[in-house]
Structures are given as C-alpha cells and as structure tokens.
Symmetry: C2
Subunit: 388 residues, 2 copies
C-alpha cells in the first residue's frame, strides 16, 4: 500500500535533527513523500519539511500514530526504545533498520560480542562494573577506555582514563560500562555502506575522519593515500557487518587504522552519518537519497564521486556570536566554490550547526582544499580564517 496521493511511497523519519533535514531535501528529487516525527516545530528538520508531526520518539502512541501514516519508518537517531520498535514490528510496521539491528547501536556490549563472534577485528574489551574490574582488564596498561554501554554519542559516554582516580570517577556514574583497550591509531577511517531489505549492498569510498574531543571535525573523501587493499577490506567488512546484523538502510562503520595498517572497528551507526555528509556534493547519490532508497527496498544508486575528484568536509561549529549572517556573506564572497550547509539551529559555542564542503578536481591538492574548507568554517565560527 502506498500511502501517498502521488502514487509514490511514504517514508517517515523519527527524529527531527539535521539528518532528517538533509533527508527531506533528498526526498524532493527522488519523488517519495517524506514525513518527520519531531519533538517540536523548531527542530532542524521541522523547519523545512512539509509534513511534520510533533511527538515523542519515547511514546509508543506517538510513534505508532506516525507510523500509521507511512509505508516505512526509519530514524534520525538511535534513541527509540527497543520495546517500542518491537511493538511496531509485531503490529506489522516496516521498521528499517529493524529493532534486531538497532539494538547493536543501543547496546555496545552486544555489538562487541557479536562482532567478536563474527571474527571482525575490534579492540579488546570487557564488561566492567567496578574499578577492580577495570584494573584487572587493563593489567596495569593505561590509558584504558571506558564507554557507556548505551546512549553515548559525539564523545559523550566515552572516557579515556589515565589514572585510577579517573577510573573511579567514571565508575561512580553508576551506569553499565564497557572497558576497551586504548588503540594508538595512525588515523580514523569510516566505511559507509547501504543495504536494502532484498540484500543489495553499495559501498561509498572509505574516508578519513578527524575527531577533536570526540567530535568529528573533518572528513577527507576518499581517505588520502589509503592502500586499495585496505580500502577494499574496509568496504567488505562494512558490507559483511550490515548483512550479518541485518541492517537495512545505511551503516557507518567507524574504524581505527593502526600503525601497522590494520583495521579495528570502533563504532557503528545505522543511519546517515556525519562521515557521509560529503556525498551531498561529492557523490552521484547522496547518503540521504541512498538511505531512502535502501529503506524503501529500491535499487541503490551509484556511490561514485565524479572521476578524479575528492571532497573535503569540515563541520561548522557555532561560536560565541550568534549572528552568523554577515560572516556567511563574507565566506560566500571569499570562495565561490565553498558549499555551506546550514541546519537551521541556534548558534551555540561548540554546537554542530552545519558543515562546509569543497569538491576538488584532478588538478587540485588535498591540503590546499582542506585549508580552504577550514578557513571557511573558521570564519563562520569566529570571524577569522585562522581560528580553531
């Protein structure tokens, strides 16, 4: 049943953040009807989506009523409680990704155990509930990484502990925790893939991500100088994880590239992901369109960038002056090839309020393009090109 007057299917996205906002834009050309369940009328996606339902992702009645107006529902975030997902699926709603896959994003211990059982390389880990557990796990080697089993994002819920006192502080939060070995990586990579319910898979080029304080700041697509063997290994690993966990829609696999050139899985996300924002400007099919295609079980689009091109994305963080418009004009004038994407969010210091991308061609130098993108983001934030 296609619940739209246009004869095209209806996708409902639970959550009104920037991922839903960018998905709304992708739905326009694709021609599918797009609805959003948003906590308020002022959320990022609610400002630009035609069909906004205000409601809570924590309320079964709200989510069920929303789902009843859609052919399939999907998610802007991973915070819908498992029991709600289970109820919806039991009632016949097409939930993509389904609760069976999403639980691995809500329970990092289950994710780690499952990946280990599949033979996917991960950092060494253990469930811990006391400082003694952590000490036993670490065996005297510090730092050690502690992670909240559920609810973490953007560096929240991850602690890199360098002393017993720090370990005790984290334990004192009283939340379920996982200890992981600290991996001294060469760099961080991300492999983004799509998988449809029919089992079709598609892989974007593997990218390098640059994190500061746990927040993604830059993405270089494709990852500069990555050996083709490692790129293929990362793509194959992500496609295999998507298939083994039953993911539908997008799966982002955050990876450590070790100094020996090996790969270890750091985190998983089952939705459009910050490491894929570059695809709006830099790939044939944006990750947002791809997610819509995948959750609708439509044939997937080409993930390819234009021949010989590369893309640099820099996240735009808010600064201390909320009136960004004059700085925006400066950036547009300074570099006509900069693509600024705003999320419609109030400016707050350190908050992700948008991103900047520049697509480079065969004649361009990655470092020079990266410098231009950084300057644009810096100017938008601070009014100077050489800020943080």
């Amino acid at each position: 049943v296609r619940k739209s007057g246009t004869g095209m299917p209806v996708v409902g996205m639970v959550g009104g953040g920037q991922l839903a906002r960018m998905t709304a834009a992708a739905a326009v050309g694709l021609g599918v009807t797009f609805r959003v369940l948003s906590e308020s009328e002022s959320e990022s996606a609610a400002l630009v989506t035609h069909d906004v339902t205000v409601g809570s992702h924590l309320s079964l009645p709200d989510v069920a009523a929303f789902a009843a107006k859609c052919d399939v529902i999907t998610f802007d975030h991973e915070h819908v409680p498992g029991p709600i997902l289970a109820e919806l699926e039991a009632a016949g709603t097409l939930v993509r990704p389904g609760g069976g896959a999403l639980r691995y994003t809500q329970d990092k211990l289950a994710m780690r155990e499952t990946l280990r059982a599949l033979g996917i390389p991960c950092p060494r880990f253990a469930a811990v509930s006391s400082a003694a557990d952590v000490e036993a796990f670490a065996g005297g080697r510090l730092p050690v990484v502690l992670k909240a089993v559920s609810g973490g994002y953007d560096g929240k819920g991850v602690w890199i502990c360098t002393s017993t006192a720090e370990i005790e502080d984290v334990i004192a939060h009283g939340i379920p925790l996982l200890a992981e070995e600290f991996v001294p990586f060469r760099r961080e990579l991300a492999a983004l893939v799509a998988r449809s319910p029919s089992g079709q898979g598609a892989a974007y080029p593997v990218v390098q991500t640059v994190q500061v304080d746990g927040i993604c700041r830059e993405v270089l697509a494709p990852a500069p100088g990555l050996s083709p063997d490692v790129a293929i290994e990362a793509e194959a690993m992500a496609l295999r994880i998507a298939a083994e966990l039953g993911v539908t829609g997008l799966l982002a696999v955050e990876l450590f590239e070790t100094h020996q050139g090996g790969l270890l899985v750091n985190e998983l996300a089952m939705r459009p992901h910050n490491s894929g924002h570059w695809t709006i400007d830099g790939a044939c099919t944006s990750q947002f369109e791809q997610h819509l295609r995948a959750v609708l079980d439509l044939p997937l689009g080409s993930c390819a960038p234009p021949d010989g091109s590369f893309t640099v994305m820099v996240n735009l963080l808010g600064g201390t002056d909320p009136d960004i418009f004059d700085r925006y004009i400066h950036v547009m004038a300074a570099d006509p090839a900069v693509k600024v994407h705003f999320y419609g969010k109030e400016v707050r210091n350190g908050r992700k309020i948008g991103h900047v991308t520049i697509v480079g061609g065969p004649q361009d130098d990655v470092a020079a393009v990266r410098d231009r993108a950084r300057r644009a983001a810096s100017y938008l934030r601070w009014g100077t090109e050489d800020g943080d």
Copy 2:
C-alpha cells in the same frame, strides 16, 4: 529586517510549480527560509515546502499579504500582472526581478525592440495585426513565425506558418501578435546567467537544447563542440542583457546558432529555467541556489561543473499509464548513475513530470551518456527503452 527566527533571510516565491519545488530543496542547505505562494495545496512545490500560502498570483491582496511575510519575493513563472508588481514595488517590497525587467518577458514586442536598440542580434521582427501585415513582413518568404506578444510558453503562443491559410487562422485568434523571420538554425543553445542587485554576474557554461514541438526535450551541458569564441560571445551577451534590462536573479537566453555560426536571441526567461536543470547534479552551484543567492543579493556561487565532466538532461514526459512507480524501480536498477527528479505531478500524456540527468566524466562519450538518459526517460514514460 530578516523575517525569520533563524536569523537568515526569507525568500518568498510566487507560484508553486516545479521551479519553486526545486528551489525549496536548494534553500534547505543554503539555510535561508523559503515560502511559496501556491494556487493549491497539491501543486508541485506545495507538496514539499514547509511554509505554503494558498493564494492567487493574480490577486494583489494575496500577493501583498504573502510579500509581507518575506524579505524578498521572486517568481516561479512570469504571469504576475505588471500592475501588481508596480503596487508592490511602490509599497517598498523587494521584488526580484522587478517589474521593469519582468515586463520584457510579458511583452515580446517590447523585448525585441529593446534588444534591437541595444544592438543584440535577433531575428527580424514586426508587430502585425492582419494577414496583410504578415504577408508584407514575409515578402513571400514562408514559413514565417507568429508569436503571441504575451503569455506563450513551451511552444504555446508560437506558430510556424507555411501558408496564407495558416496565417489567417492565427490572426483569427484576435490576440496581439509579432511576426518573426523563420531562422533555419544549426541548433539551439541557451546561456544561463545570474545577476545580483549589486551587479555581480555569473555565467553557466552554454548548453545545447533540443526542442520537439516547442517543448525542451534534452539539454547537453556544455554544448558539444561549441567554439570557445561563440561560448564567450553567448555568455557575454546574456550578462549584458541581464545588466541592460536590470534583471536580478537568473536570466536564461535561448539562442539560435545559425549555420554560419552566428547567434540570434530567440527567447528570454527571468527565473530558473529548464535549460539549467542539469546544474542540480552537474555544477558546483545549482541554478536554484544561484537564484536564491542572486535575489538576496548574496555573493554568487561557482557555476563550474567538476573538471572534465559533462551532463545530459532529458525531460521526463508523462505517458498513458499513470502508475510510474514500477517503471521507476526498473530504471533505478538498470542504471544506478541515472538521477531522476520527480515534480510530484499527476502523470498525463505529454506533460513534463520530471527530468533525468546523467553526469559523464572525461572517459565517457556524450552520445553514449545521452543514449542512457533517453532510455531512462523513455522507460519511465512508456515501459520501453526505445520509445519517443
């Protein structure tokens, strides 16, 4: 005054067609607030725009009330009556393009006379009001072209007359007419430029357009084999026309390339234009984003395609079977690099309901890419790859 809670300006577009729809998508990333004045809730743009006002572009109260909620108003079409534009401007509304420029799209005789006075090459023309006037103008050379002075589009309002009887049929309509010499052209080109109120100009690569029965069917961007001198001449001509006529926003100049390689201006449009739809996928800044930047007097974006790339666009016309969805799935599966853009319009035979684009790289052949794009559009229309 920026009339938006996000601190970004508000653009209102009068008219709810596909141009407004695609502009709505462009506004999302740009971060400006976008509103539409649409004749109904079911128009193309009204289906995807957050802020839709239902009203008539022929009603001064409707347009004025809409304009009061916007920092600047612009247009999806050229049918707002001149007196309404004049009233709005007298009241201080920022109308872009303004009535002084738009009148040249509503009065082809004024357009021709003004271009002639500027020394811009045009087909020979004359105002005519009787068959005798037309015969005198044609001097025995048929065919002769008759055009409605106002209101024509997509081949409507243009008649290529090959006999006195046909001329008399057109005269019998009793509308103001213009006679033009029939130009036996090599091909049709289009030059698309943007001009901001501050006077900044930007030119897209000149494209070849292929018309069938007065309807644009294909666009090849850039125009294959066009000499750089002619390309520069066309771009300079379009920029000059934009400046001389005081156009703000986009200006599309439809051109004949004669067998001698000369250029003649056929038509003008002061809005995003079918000949520029390729820019969504094939240029750094889409024409829709560029129009928003220009009418807001923001610095213009780069018009450049990725290095070495070209784009083919084929318009998607409706066929006789309205249920397009299964054919859409076929097309997505057959060619993952095809970009289909739907307008949310009911399928009717011969109606423009979307367009298809494919971006080719330095290794690709224009004819082969054009064939792929045609096959996709044909399959969507007829369920066969080799239809019309």
